[in-house]
């Protein structure tokens, strides 16, 4: 099994006729992702990789039965695009673009919670369920089907972790990129709990980083989980308060130094890892 999406998911692409939309539609299709169509307002009737483009999500859902959407649009259109998907009944939306205005994400989050939909991103590399669905911009080479779930703020960390799990024979159930923007559609705790409820996931690796607030939110959930959680936090040696590229990586007041995050998660029952190679060692000790 997988969380969030699997081989039966009917995926649509918002912004399918744009450069990034086209490029990744092709890549995702190559992987076997079941893309059924997409949207591009004003370009309804066109085709990309033989998949139909519509003007609105509602039309696309009606015509193709799409139940998952991935967004490749300029940041300023993301708020409405995400809300459009949610209102059209889509329960899982992946927001790839970065630099989404924060106030927009607050609106998106409210709509999602109200509708019981899950949004991940912005600035996410997407979600990968190896062997089934590549939903995003992740390079497939790092992944193989297996028994460990991963959830990470950063795309590159997701790849390194999966690479390590694949190389050491654990493989992955689903790999989720939460996204690097300062306000995100979903939080660690929410994704962790989905893994907890997934039979096939025997352990979860969560990778946070300095700054932001979502690692702290996860402690309660980790306490309640039976599935073991391995935790890595990037930025242990980073000087606090200096900008680190990700807007989300500015230390917020007393919260958010990497060491504090790691300590809190460890106290809640997570197993701390310092390098990727610590991951298979820890899994081995846990008998996963």
């Amino acid at each position: 099994m997988a969380i969030l999406c699997d081989k039966n998911s009917k995926v649509m692409v918002q912004g399918i006729t744009g450069g990034a939309g086209k490029f990744h539609t092709e890549r995702m299709l190559e992987y076997g992702t079941r893309i059924v169509g997409g949207t591009s307002p004003g370009k309804g009737g066109q085709f990309v990789c033989e998949k139909p483009a519509f003007d609105t999500v509602a039309e696309c859902v009606e015509q193709t039965g799409a139940d998952v959407s991935i967004i490749f649009l300029p940041a300023r259109f993301v708020k409405e695009a995400t809300i459009e998907a949610i209102r059209a009944g889509i329960k899982f939306v992946v927001v790839v673009p970065e630099h989404i205005p924060i106030h927009d994400m607050l609106h998106v989050r409210e709509d999602a919670v109200k509708a019981g939909a899950t949004v991940i991103g912005g600035n996410t590399a997407g979600v990968m369920t190896p062997g089934e669905v590549n939903l995003g911009i992740m390079p497939d080479i790092a992944f193989a089907p297996g028994r460990v779930g991963t959830v990470s703020r950063s795309g590159s960390i997701t790849y390194y972790v999966a690479d390590t799990l694949t190389r050491t024979g654990y493989g992955e159930t689903t790999c989720v990129g939460l996204g690097g923007d300062p306000v995100l559609g979903s939080t660690f705790d929410e994704i962790l709990w989905k893994f907890e409820e997934d039979d096939k996931t025997k352990a979860v690796v969560m990778c946070g980083e300095i700054g932001g607030v979502y690692e702290e939110r996860a402690t309660d959930t980790i306490t309640k989980m039976k599935t073991p959680v391995l935790a890595m936090i990037g930025g242990i040696t980073a000087p606090p308060g200096k900008r680190m590229g990700h807007a989300g990586a500015i230390v917020e007041g007393k919260m958010g130094t990497a060491q504090e995050k790691l300590d809190m998660l460890t106290e809640a029952g997570a197993h701390p890892c310092r390098t990727f190679l610590d991951i298979p060692e820890t899994l081995k000790k846990l008998g996963v």
Binding site: H103, S156, R243
Partner: protein, 400 residues
């Protein structure tokens, strides 16, 4: 984007938040002239994009135009935590009966806007929040909600604004909240909000931080002479160069030049080097899908840094392509040449193509690659990290 105090106060006026009459001066002579027009004792406030300027000596008082000019000369020479003083805001000195704190900010963990207020302003609000949480009033709102008068009155009363002024206080709370929403703010703060000797409420300072990613919605800021800017403290020459090239870059003082992919591993690679006993020279972020030109510039920054003893390269092609990455490295090797040893790893999207480009080029011109140890997917990144530490130690050791 942080705003200067005088810019923030300009926005305050738009939302009818009362501020003292003030003048902005950019030279000691402008200070002299402006203070000449003011009949009271004045306060000279250095305009810098950082808190704590009072403690750093950035706020002074003066009794007349001459004294003000003398004081201003000193202020213009000041650097406050790396920030130069380019302008001074002049305001009449106020008789202050009471100082309050009022701010609106984001609660990202709970996806809310939060109004924070306290009857004890003019001090470090975080310290108050920690030591005397009972002195802090908090109210959360959904992004689609308005802050109504009754909530504003409640806040004004709870922080102890005198009864005869609570409607004025409430109007300030509402104004600040409206401004927060109208300008996509991350933080708007009045610290202190003062009760003056003649029983008026005034915003004595303005700390405003807007969401850079939403500035496109606010072209009117430009009309208000608020230019879009990057937040810059004191920068090293290399940081300045990187900023000009649009590359997020920080000097960190060690001897291993970091040439990473995304910011995520950019941050964690730092930890790895440290874990294996090394020290990094910098933080850097390539951004998503960097062009070969950008890749080449990133390497220029590292190769020309005398502190750098070795370079650690890591590329996991996601949205970026390893062949573009390889092209950038080759462009740099040809145009500039590599003087430091570099160990690197390439994997992910199109990595074989990247490796192939390297081999092709190496065959034609082996000399170019004499300092490059390139690895593919088969070598774990930890091994690359360790090797970078070894290379740096060898070189730094040899140089000593």
């Amino acid at each position: 984007m942080r705003l200067y105090e005088f810019e923030g106060k300009g926005l305050f006026k738009k939302f009818r938040i009362p501020v003292a009459e003030s003048y902005l001066a950019r030279t000691p002579d402008e200070v002299y002239e402006a203070v000449g027009r003011m009949s009271t004792r004045v306060v000279l406030k250095s305009q810098v994009l950082i808190g704590g300027r009072g403690k750093a000596g950035g706020i002074k008082f003066a009794g007349g135009a001459n004294e003000a000019r003398t004081v201003a000369r000193e202020l213009f020479k000041l650097k406050i935590r790396g920030y130069k003083v380019d302008s001074i805001l002049l305001e009449p000195m106020l008789e202050i009966k009471q100082e309050y704190y009022l701010g609106v900010t984001l609660d990202r963990a709970n996806y809310k806007l939060v109004v924070i207020a306290s009857g004890e302003g003019g001090v470090d609000i975080e310290e108050t929040a920690e030591k005397h949480p009972e002195k802090i009033v908090r109210k959360s709102f959904s992004i689609h909600e308005d802050l109504y008068t009754f909530d504003a009155l409640d806040i004004a009363k709870k922080i102890g604004i005198p009864q005869e002024l609570i409607k004025d206080g409430a109007a300030i709370v509402q104004g600040l909240y409206k401004m927060f929403k109208a300008y996509d703010a991350k933080l708007v703060e009045i610290n202190p909000l003062v009760l003056t000797g003649d029983n008026k409420l005034l915003a004595a300072d303005a700390r405003v931080s807007l969401d850079d990613d939403a500035l496109f919605r606010h072209p009117d800021l430009k009309e208000m002479d608020i230019e879009m800017r990057h937040e810059e403290g004191e920068m090293t020459p290399r940081e300045k160069q990187a900023t000009e090239w649009g590359i997020p870059y920080l000097d960190l003082g060690g001897d291993i030049g970091m040439f990473p992919g995304g910011a995520g591993f950019g941050i964690m690679g730092n930890d790895f080097i440290s874990y294996f006993g090394g020290k990094v020279a910098n933080f850097m972020d390539s951004g998503g899908g960097p062009s070969p030109e950008r890749i080449a510039k990133m390497l220029v920054l590292l190769d020309e840094n005398p502190n750098v003893a070795a370079i650690f390269g890591a590329r996991f092609g996601g949205i970026s392509r390893c062949d573009d990455f390889a092209k950038g490295v080759i462009m740099f090797l040809k145009d500039h040449g590599l003087s430091k040893p570099m160990v690197m790893r390439m994997t992910g999207n199109m990595w074989q193509e990247g490796v192939r480009l390297f081999e092709e080029e190496k065959e034609k011109n082996p000399e170019l690659f004499k300092n490059v140890e390139a690895h593919g997917i088969e070598t774990p990144i930890e091994e690359i990290s360790k090797r970078a530490v070894e290379l740096a130690k060898a070189r730094s050791g040899g140089a000593k």
